[in-house]
Protein backbone atom coordinates (compact mmCIF):
# COMPACT_ATOMS: atom_id res chain seq x y z
CA UNK A 1 0.00 0.00 0.00
CA UNK A 2 2.75 2.43 1.03
CA UNK A 3 4.96 1.41 -1.89
CA UNK A 4 1.97 1.86 -4.20
CA UNK A 5 1.44 5.37 -2.79
CA UNK A 6 5.12 6.26 -3.12
CA UNK A 7 5.22 4.90 -6.65
CA UNK A 8 2.23 7.05 -7.61
CA UNK A 9 3.72 10.19 -6.05
CA UNK A 10 6.95 9.57 -7.93
CA UNK A 11 4.99 9.00 -11.13
CA UNK A 12 3.09 12.28 -10.57
CA UNK A 13 6.27 14.34 -10.16
CA UNK A 14 8.03 12.58 -13.05
CA UNK A 15 5.16 13.02 -15.50
CA UNK A 16 4.66 16.70 -14.57
CA UNK A 17 8.37 17.43 -14.98
CA UNK A 18 8.57 15.58 -18.31
CA UNK A 19 5.52 17.52 -19.50
CA UNK A 20 6.64 21.02 -18.52
CA UNK A 21 10.39 20.69 -19.11
CA UNK A 22 10.51 18.51 -22.22
CA UNK A 23 7.19 18.16 -24.04
CA UNK A 24 6.32 21.85 -23.56
CA UNK A 25 9.50 22.83 -25.39
CA UNK A 26 9.15 20.43 -28.30
CA UNK A 27 7.30 22.46 -30.88
CA UNK A 28 5.80 20.41 -33.68
CA UNK A 29 3.56 23.15 -35.00
CA UNK A 30 0.28 24.51 -33.80
CA UNK A 31 -1.70 21.29 -34.15
CA UNK A 32 0.43 18.83 -32.22
CA UNK A 33 0.41 19.50 -28.49
CA UNK A 34 0.61 16.17 -26.65
CA UNK A 35 -0.24 16.15 -22.94
CA UNK A 36 1.26 12.96 -21.56
CA UNK A 37 0.59 13.88 -17.93
CA UNK A 38 -2.93 12.53 -18.48
CA UNK A 39 -1.33 9.06 -18.23
CA UNK A 40 -1.23 9.54 -14.46
CA UNK A 41 -5.02 9.68 -14.19
CA UNK A 42 -5.47 6.85 -16.70
CA UNK A 43 -3.42 4.25 -14.80
CA UNK A 44 -4.39 5.01 -11.20
CA UNK A 45 -5.24 1.67 -9.45
CA UNK A 46 -8.81 0.31 -9.77
CA UNK A 47 -9.29 0.59 -6.01
CA UNK A 48 -8.82 4.38 -5.88
CA UNK A 49 -12.07 5.89 -4.49
CA UNK A 50 -14.11 7.90 -7.00
CA UNK A 51 -13.99 11.17 -5.05
CA UNK A 52 -10.21 10.85 -4.62
CA UNK A 53 -9.75 10.65 -8.40
CA UNK A 54 -11.64 13.92 -8.78
CA UNK A 55 -9.39 15.71 -6.30
CA UNK A 56 -6.23 14.14 -7.70
CA UNK A 57 -7.26 15.30 -11.18
CA UNK A 58 -7.93 18.79 -9.85
CA UNK A 59 -4.52 19.01 -8.18
CA UNK A 60 -2.73 17.56 -11.20
CA UNK A 61 -4.43 20.10 -13.47
CA UNK A 62 -3.60 23.04 -11.20
CA UNK A 63 0.05 21.95 -11.05
CA UNK A 64 0.24 21.92 -14.86
CA UNK A 65 -1.60 25.27 -14.97
CA UNK A 66 1.10 26.87 -12.84
CA UNK A 67 3.68 26.09 -15.51
CA UNK A 68 1.50 26.83 -18.53
CA UNK A 69 0.09 30.15 -17.20
CA UNK A 70 -3.46 28.98 -17.77
CA UNK A 71 -5.31 29.30 -14.48
CA UNK A 72 -7.95 26.57 -14.24
CA UNK A 73 -7.76 25.41 -17.86
CA UNK A 74 -5.92 22.11 -17.37
CA UNK A 75 -7.66 21.62 -14.03
CA UNK A 76 -11.07 21.83 -15.71
CA UNK A 77 -10.02 19.30 -18.37
CA UNK A 78 -8.56 16.92 -15.78
CA UNK A 79 -11.64 17.06 -13.56
CA UNK A 80 -13.87 16.16 -16.52
CA UNK A 81 -11.53 13.28 -17.32
CA UNK A 82 -11.57 12.08 -13.70
CA UNK A 83 -15.36 12.27 -13.65
CA UNK A 84 -15.63 10.11 -16.75
CA UNK A 85 -13.12 7.46 -15.65
CA UNK A 86 -15.32 5.30 -13.37
CA UNK A 87 -18.06 5.17 -15.99
CA UNK A 88 -15.68 4.19 -18.78
CA UNK A 89 -14.09 1.52 -16.59
CA UNK A 90 -17.54 0.08 -15.88
CA UNK A 91 -18.39 0.13 -19.59
CA UNK A 92 -15.29 -1.84 -20.54
CA UNK A 93 -15.19 -4.19 -17.55
CA UNK A 94 -14.74 -7.95 -18.20
CA UNK A 95 -17.70 -10.21 -17.36
CA UNK A 96 -16.50 -11.05 -13.85
CA UNK A 97 -15.02 -7.66 -12.99
CA UNK A 98 -11.39 -6.62 -12.75
CA UNK A 99 -9.00 -8.88 -10.86
CA UNK A 100 -7.90 -7.39 -7.54
CA UNK A 101 -4.36 -6.04 -7.46
CA UNK A 102 -4.27 -5.21 -11.15
CA UNK A 103 -4.04 -1.80 -12.81
CA UNK A 104 -5.66 -0.43 -15.97
CA UNK A 105 -2.49 -0.87 -18.02
CA UNK A 106 -1.45 -2.63 -21.24
CA UNK A 107 0.44 -5.13 -19.13
CA UNK A 108 -2.70 -6.51 -17.44
CA UNK A 109 -5.44 -5.95 -20.00
CA UNK A 110 -3.79 -5.82 -23.41
CA UNK A 111 -3.43 -3.20 -26.11
CA UNK A 112 -6.98 -3.19 -27.63
CA UNK A 113 -8.62 -2.72 -24.23
CA UNK A 114 -6.16 -0.06 -23.13
CA UNK A 115 -6.36 1.89 -26.40
CA UNK A 116 -10.15 2.11 -26.43
CA UNK A 117 -10.25 2.99 -22.72
CA UNK A 118 -7.55 5.66 -22.82
CA UNK A 119 -8.65 7.09 -26.19
CA UNK A 120 -12.02 8.14 -24.77
CA UNK A 121 -10.43 9.75 -21.73
CA UNK A 122 -7.68 11.53 -23.69
CA UNK A 123 -10.06 12.85 -26.35
CA UNK A 124 -12.48 14.19 -23.73
CA UNK A 125 -9.59 15.85 -21.90
CA UNK A 126 -8.28 17.48 -25.10
CA UNK A 127 -11.78 18.55 -26.18
CA UNK A 128 -12.38 20.45 -22.95
CA UNK A 129 -8.86 21.85 -22.91
CA UNK A 130 -8.67 23.26 -26.44
CA UNK A 131 -12.21 24.59 -26.62
CA UNK A 132 -11.91 26.25 -23.24
CA UNK A 133 -8.61 27.78 -24.31
CA UNK A 134 -10.11 29.29 -27.46
CA UNK A 135 -13.32 30.28 -25.62
CA UNK A 136 -15.26 31.05 -28.80
CA UNK A 137 -16.72 29.21 -31.74
CA UNK A 138 -15.14 31.11 -34.61
CA UNK A 139 -12.25 28.64 -34.95
CA UNK A 140 -14.39 25.55 -34.44
CA UNK A 141 -12.96 23.23 -37.10
CA UNK A 142 -9.31 24.13 -36.74
CA UNK A 143 -9.69 23.49 -33.00
CA UNK A 144 -11.33 20.14 -33.74
CA UNK A 145 -8.39 19.20 -35.94
CA UNK A 146 -6.09 20.22 -33.12
CA UNK A 147 -7.98 17.98 -30.69
CA UNK A 148 -7.78 14.96 -33.02
CA UNK A 149 -4.11 15.30 -33.97
CA UNK A 150 -2.98 16.11 -30.43
CA UNK A 151 -4.97 13.18 -29.02
CA UNK A 152 -3.27 10.81 -31.47
CA UNK A 153 0.13 12.17 -30.45
CA UNK A 154 -0.73 11.83 -26.75
CA UNK A 155 -1.96 8.25 -27.20
CA UNK A 156 1.16 7.27 -29.12
CA UNK A 157 3.43 8.69 -26.41
CA UNK A 158 1.34 7.07 -23.65
CA UNK A 159 1.61 3.63 -25.28
CA UNK A 160 5.37 4.05 -25.79
CA UNK A 161 5.79 5.02 -22.12
CA UNK A 162 3.73 1.97 -21.09
CA UNK A 163 6.03 -0.33 -23.04
CA UNK A 164 9.10 1.19 -21.38
CA UNK A 165 7.49 0.60 -17.98
CA UNK A 166 6.52 -2.97 -18.81
CA UNK A 167 10.01 -4.01 -19.72
CA UNK A 168 11.31 -2.61 -16.47
CA UNK A 169 8.82 -4.62 -14.42
CA UNK A 170 9.67 -7.91 -16.09
CA UNK A 171 13.29 -7.43 -15.21
CA UNK A 172 12.50 -6.96 -11.53
Amino acid sequence: MITELLRNIFRFVALVLVQVLIIKNIELGRFINPFIYTLFLIILPFETPKWAILFIGFILGLTIDMFYDTAGLHAAACVVMAYMRPGILKLFSPRDGYESGTQPTIQYLGIPWFLSYSAILVVSHHLVLFYLEIFRFSEFFSTLLRVIISSLATLLLIVVIQFLFNRKKEQE
Binding site: W51, F67, L73, E139
Partner: protein, 279 residues
Protein backbone atom coordinates in the same frame (compact mmCIF):
# COMPACT_ATOMS: atom_id res chain seq x y z
CA UNK B 1 -34.58 18.37 4.00
CA UNK B 2 -33.52 14.89 5.04
CA UNK B 3 -34.45 13.56 1.62
CA UNK B 4 -32.45 16.29 -0.03
CA UNK B 5 -29.39 15.43 2.04
CA UNK B 6 -29.87 11.75 1.24
CA UNK B 7 -30.13 12.60 -2.44
CA UNK B 8 -26.92 14.62 -2.34
CA UNK B 9 -25.16 11.87 -0.40
CA UNK B 10 -26.27 9.26 -2.91
CA UNK B 11 -24.97 11.29 -5.84
CA UNK B 12 -22.01 12.82 -4.03
CA UNK B 13 -19.70 11.96 -6.92
CA UNK B 14 -21.64 14.17 -9.29
CA UNK B 15 -21.85 17.06 -6.85
CA UNK B 16 -18.14 16.97 -6.02
CA UNK B 17 -17.53 17.02 -9.77
CA UNK B 18 -19.82 20.03 -10.24
CA UNK B 19 -18.11 21.86 -7.38
CA UNK B 20 -14.58 21.33 -8.67
CA UNK B 21 -15.48 21.98 -12.31
CA UNK B 22 -17.30 25.15 -11.31
CA UNK B 23 -14.25 26.38 -9.46
CA UNK B 24 -12.02 25.63 -12.47
CA UNK B 25 -14.32 27.48 -14.84
CA UNK B 26 -14.43 30.41 -12.43
CA UNK B 27 -10.62 30.56 -12.53
CA UNK B 28 -10.57 30.37 -16.32
CA UNK B 29 -13.19 33.06 -16.84
CA UNK B 30 -11.67 35.36 -14.27
CA UNK B 31 -8.31 34.99 -15.94
CA UNK B 32 -9.69 35.55 -19.43
CA UNK B 33 -11.89 38.55 -18.88
CA UNK B 34 -10.55 40.52 -16.00
CA UNK B 35 -6.94 39.43 -16.19
CA UNK B 36 -6.75 39.64 -12.44
CA UNK B 37 -3.49 38.85 -10.80
CA UNK B 38 -4.38 35.22 -10.30
CA UNK B 39 -2.29 33.10 -8.04
CA UNK B 40 -1.91 30.18 -10.41
CA UNK B 41 0.54 31.56 -12.94
CA UNK B 42 4.21 31.25 -13.59
CA UNK B 43 5.15 34.33 -11.64
CA UNK B 44 4.63 32.25 -8.53
CA UNK B 45 7.81 31.27 -6.84
CA UNK B 46 7.92 27.49 -7.21
CA UNK B 47 7.27 27.19 -10.91
CA UNK B 48 9.19 30.33 -11.79
CA UNK B 49 12.30 29.00 -10.07
CA UNK B 50 12.11 25.63 -11.81
CA UNK B 51 11.59 27.36 -15.17
CA UNK B 52 14.40 29.82 -14.48
CA UNK B 53 16.89 27.00 -13.88
CA UNK B 54 15.81 25.25 -17.04
CA UNK B 55 16.06 28.53 -18.92
CA UNK B 56 19.56 29.08 -17.57
CA UNK B 57 20.74 25.93 -19.32
CA UNK B 58 18.93 26.86 -22.53
CA UNK B 59 20.34 30.40 -22.58
CA UNK B 60 23.76 28.95 -23.04
CA UNK B 61 22.90 27.70 -26.50
CA UNK B 62 21.74 31.12 -27.65
CA UNK B 63 24.85 32.95 -26.41
CA UNK B 64 26.24 33.47 -29.89
CA UNK B 65 23.11 35.10 -31.29
CA UNK B 66 22.65 37.22 -28.17
CA UNK B 67 26.24 38.43 -28.31
CA UNK B 68 25.87 39.42 -31.94
CA UNK B 69 22.66 41.29 -31.16
CA UNK B 70 24.23 43.08 -28.20
CA UNK B 71 27.32 44.02 -30.16
CA UNK B 72 25.14 45.44 -32.90
CA UNK B 73 23.12 47.42 -30.42
CA UNK B 74 26.28 48.67 -28.71
CA UNK B 75 27.54 49.91 -32.02
CA UNK B 76 24.27 51.68 -32.70
CA UNK B 77 24.25 53.33 -29.27
CA UNK B 78 27.89 54.28 -29.53
CA UNK B 79 27.13 56.10 -32.74
CA UNK B 80 24.64 58.20 -30.84
CA UNK B 81 27.13 59.24 -28.14
CA UNK B 82 27.99 62.89 -27.90
CA UNK B 83 31.59 62.04 -28.73
CA UNK B 84 30.58 60.67 -32.08
CA UNK B 85 29.14 63.97 -33.20
CA UNK B 86 31.48 66.54 -34.62
CA UNK B 87 30.97 70.12 -33.63
CA UNK B 88 29.50 72.28 -36.36
CA UNK B 89 30.95 75.75 -36.24
CA UNK B 90 28.38 78.58 -36.08
CA UNK B 91 25.63 76.15 -35.27
CA UNK B 92 22.91 78.17 -33.60
CA UNK B 93 21.10 75.26 -32.02
CA UNK B 94 21.95 75.06 -28.31
CA UNK B 95 21.02 71.94 -26.44
CA UNK B 96 19.66 72.90 -23.04
CA UNK B 97 19.25 70.17 -20.43
CA UNK B 98 16.13 71.67 -18.90
CA UNK B 99 14.39 71.69 -22.26
CA UNK B 100 14.37 67.90 -22.33
CA UNK B 101 11.96 65.93 -20.21
CA UNK B 102 12.45 62.21 -19.90
CA UNK B 103 9.29 60.35 -20.87
CA UNK B 104 10.34 56.70 -21.05
CA UNK B 105 12.66 54.71 -18.81
CA UNK B 106 14.00 51.26 -19.70
CA UNK B 107 14.68 48.24 -17.50
CA UNK B 108 16.48 45.26 -18.98
CA UNK B 109 15.12 41.82 -18.11
CA UNK B 110 15.82 38.19 -18.88
CA UNK B 111 13.19 35.82 -20.28
CA UNK B 112 12.82 32.79 -18.01
CA UNK B 113 9.82 31.19 -19.71
CA UNK B 114 8.37 31.59 -23.18
CA UNK B 115 6.00 29.88 -25.59
CA UNK B 116 5.03 30.37 -29.22
CA UNK B 117 2.95 27.34 -30.14
CA UNK B 118 -0.25 28.02 -28.26
CA UNK B 119 -3.14 30.29 -29.21
CA UNK B 120 -2.48 32.49 -26.16
CA UNK B 121 1.20 32.85 -25.45
CA UNK B 122 2.90 34.30 -22.38
CA UNK B 123 6.44 35.08 -21.28
CA UNK B 124 7.88 35.22 -17.77
CA UNK B 125 10.60 37.78 -17.01
CA UNK B 126 12.96 37.93 -14.03
CA UNK B 127 11.97 41.48 -12.98
CA UNK B 128 9.09 42.22 -10.60
CA UNK B 129 7.58 44.74 -8.22
CA UNK B 130 10.95 44.95 -6.46
CA UNK B 131 12.39 46.51 -9.62
CA UNK B 132 9.51 48.94 -10.06
CA UNK B 133 7.59 46.98 -12.67
CA UNK B 134 3.85 47.71 -12.80
CA UNK B 135 0.95 46.35 -14.84
CA UNK B 136 0.59 47.23 -18.56
CA UNK B 137 4.19 48.33 -19.10
CA UNK B 138 5.48 47.70 -22.63
CA UNK B 139 8.06 45.00 -23.35
CA UNK B 140 10.36 45.39 -26.38
CA UNK B 141 13.68 44.07 -27.70
CA UNK B 142 16.20 45.73 -29.97
CA UNK B 143 14.39 44.23 -32.97
CA UNK B 144 10.80 45.05 -32.09
CA UNK B 145 7.87 44.84 -29.72
CA UNK B 146 7.25 41.78 -27.54
CA UNK B 147 4.14 42.41 -25.43
CA UNK B 148 2.63 43.94 -22.35
CA UNK B 149 3.17 43.17 -18.64
CA UNK B 150 0.22 41.29 -17.14
CA UNK B 151 0.87 39.96 -13.63
CA UNK B 152 3.63 40.97 -11.24
CA UNK B 153 5.10 39.20 -8.22
CA UNK B 154 8.04 40.34 -6.11
CA UNK B 155 10.78 39.03 -8.40
CA UNK B 156 9.01 38.03 -11.61
CA UNK B 157 6.40 39.27 -14.02
CA UNK B 158 4.39 37.60 -16.76
CA UNK B 159 3.96 39.21 -20.15
CA UNK B 160 1.04 38.86 -22.54
CA UNK B 161 2.96 38.24 -25.74
CA UNK B 162 2.16 39.82 -29.13
CA UNK B 163 1.24 36.22 -29.95
CA UNK B 164 -1.95 36.27 -27.84
CA UNK B 165 -5.51 36.28 -29.14
CA UNK B 166 -6.40 39.37 -27.09
CA UNK B 167 -3.34 41.52 -27.76
CA UNK B 168 -4.10 44.54 -29.93
CA UNK B 169 -1.36 47.08 -30.71
CA UNK B 170 -1.85 50.34 -32.59
CA UNK B 171 0.63 50.30 -35.48
CA UNK B 172 1.35 52.46 -38.51
CA UNK B 173 3.19 52.28 -41.80
CA UNK B 174 6.36 54.24 -41.28
CA UNK B 175 6.53 56.01 -44.65
CA UNK B 176 3.10 57.67 -44.61
CA UNK B 177 1.70 57.20 -41.12
CA UNK B 178 -1.58 55.42 -41.92
CA UNK B 179 -2.40 53.36 -38.88
CA UNK B 180 -4.52 50.40 -37.81
CA UNK B 181 -4.86 47.69 -35.18
CA UNK B 182 -2.28 44.89 -35.17
CA UNK B 183 -3.43 41.43 -34.07
CA UNK B 184 -2.29 37.81 -34.27
CA UNK B 185 -4.42 35.19 -36.05
CA UNK B 186 -2.74 32.25 -34.32
CA UNK B 187 -1.47 30.53 -37.45
CA UNK B 188 2.24 31.27 -37.52
CA UNK B 189 4.47 32.88 -34.91
CA UNK B 190 6.39 34.79 -37.59
CA UNK B 191 3.43 36.73 -39.01
CA UNK B 192 0.86 39.18 -37.60
CA UNK B 193 -2.03 41.01 -39.24
CA UNK B 194 -2.46 44.77 -39.66
CA UNK B 195 -6.00 45.71 -40.62
CA UNK B 196 -7.91 48.88 -41.59
CA UNK B 197 -5.27 50.34 -43.93
CA UNK B 198 -7.04 52.62 -46.46
CA UNK B 199 -6.79 51.47 -50.07
CA UNK B 200 -5.21 54.70 -51.35
CA UNK B 201 -1.98 53.84 -49.56
CA UNK B 202 0.61 52.51 -52.02
CA UNK B 203 1.96 49.46 -50.26
CA UNK B 204 5.32 47.96 -51.22
CA UNK B 205 6.62 44.62 -50.02
CA UNK B 206 9.22 45.37 -47.35
CA UNK B 207 7.66 48.58 -45.99
CA UNK B 208 8.47 49.01 -42.30
CA UNK B 209 5.66 48.81 -39.74
CA UNK B 210 6.24 50.68 -36.46
CA UNK B 211 4.17 51.47 -33.37
CA UNK B 212 1.95 54.53 -33.67
CA UNK B 213 1.81 57.47 -31.30
CA UNK B 214 -1.71 56.59 -30.19
CA UNK B 215 -0.64 53.86 -27.79
CA UNK B 216 -0.39 54.68 -24.11
CA UNK B 217 1.94 51.75 -23.58
CA UNK B 218 4.43 51.65 -26.42
CA UNK B 219 6.74 54.51 -27.37
CA UNK B 220 6.29 55.77 -30.93
CA UNK B 221 8.33 54.37 -33.82
CA UNK B 222 9.35 51.08 -32.21
CA UNK B 223 9.97 48.63 -35.06
CA UNK B 224 7.52 45.75 -35.44
CA UNK B 225 7.98 44.13 -38.83
CA UNK B 226 7.85 44.49 -42.59
CA UNK B 227 4.97 44.19 -45.06
CA UNK B 228 4.84 40.72 -46.59
CA UNK B 229 1.58 40.70 -48.54
CA UNK B 230 -1.82 42.43 -48.51
CA UNK B 231 -5.34 41.80 -49.70
CA UNK B 232 -8.64 43.59 -49.98
CA UNK B 233 -11.56 41.42 -48.97
CA UNK B 234 -14.64 41.78 -51.14
CA UNK B 235 -16.97 44.47 -49.85
CA UNK B 236 -14.33 46.18 -47.72
CA UNK B 237 -12.62 49.50 -48.32
CA UNK B 238 -9.53 48.57 -46.40
CA UNK B 239 -6.43 46.47 -46.94
CA UNK B 240 -5.60 43.66 -44.55
CA UNK B 241 -1.82 43.47 -44.42
CA UNK B 242 0.25 40.43 -43.48
CA UNK B 243 3.29 41.60 -41.54
CA UNK B 244 6.44 39.56 -41.00
CA UNK B 245 7.74 40.15 -37.48
CA UNK B 246 11.36 41.27 -37.17
CA UNK B 247 11.65 39.63 -33.75
CA UNK B 248 12.18 35.89 -33.61
CA UNK B 249 9.86 35.01 -30.72
CA UNK B 250 11.43 31.59 -30.36
CA UNK B 251 14.82 33.02 -29.53
CA UNK B 252 13.87 35.75 -27.04
CA UNK B 253 16.38 35.94 -24.19
CA UNK B 254 16.92 39.57 -23.20
CA UNK B 255 14.20 42.22 -23.38
CA UNK B 256 13.56 45.77 -22.17
CA UNK B 257 10.59 46.80 -20.05
CA UNK B 258 9.49 50.33 -20.93
CA UNK B 259 7.89 52.64 -18.40
CA UNK B 260 5.90 55.58 -19.76
CA UNK B 261 6.34 58.18 -17.02
CA UNK B 262 3.57 60.40 -18.36
CA UNK B 263 1.03 57.60 -18.77
CA UNK B 264 -0.96 58.38 -15.61
CA UNK B 265 -1.22 62.04 -16.45
CA UNK B 266 -2.53 61.32 -19.96
CA UNK B 267 -4.88 58.60 -18.75
CA UNK B 268 -6.40 60.80 -16.05
CA UNK B 269 -6.96 63.63 -18.47
CA UNK B 270 -8.58 61.35 -21.03
CA UNK B 271 -10.91 59.65 -18.56
CA UNK B 272 -11.89 63.09 -17.28
CA UNK B 273 -12.83 64.35 -20.74
CA UNK B 274 -14.70 61.14 -21.42
CA UNK B 275 -16.65 61.51 -18.18
CA UNK B 276 -17.43 65.12 -19.06
CA UNK B 277 -18.73 64.26 -22.49
CA UNK B 278 -21.11 61.70 -21.02
CA UNK B 279 -22.83 64.22 -18.81
Amino acid sequence: MRNLLLFIWKHYFFFVFLLLEGFCLYLVVQNNYYQHATFVNSSNKLSANVLETSRGVKDYFYLKDVNEGLAQENAELRSRLLESYSLVVNDKHVMNDTSLHQKYTYTSAKVVNNSTNRRNNFLTLDKGSKHGITKDMAVITNTGIVGQVKDISENFCTVMSMLHSRTIVSAKIKKDGSYGPLTWDGANFEYVTLSDIPTHVRLVKGDTIVTSAYSLTFPENIKIGVVDSWERKSGEYFYTVRVRLLTDFKKLTHVYIVNNMMKNEQEQLETKSEADSKE
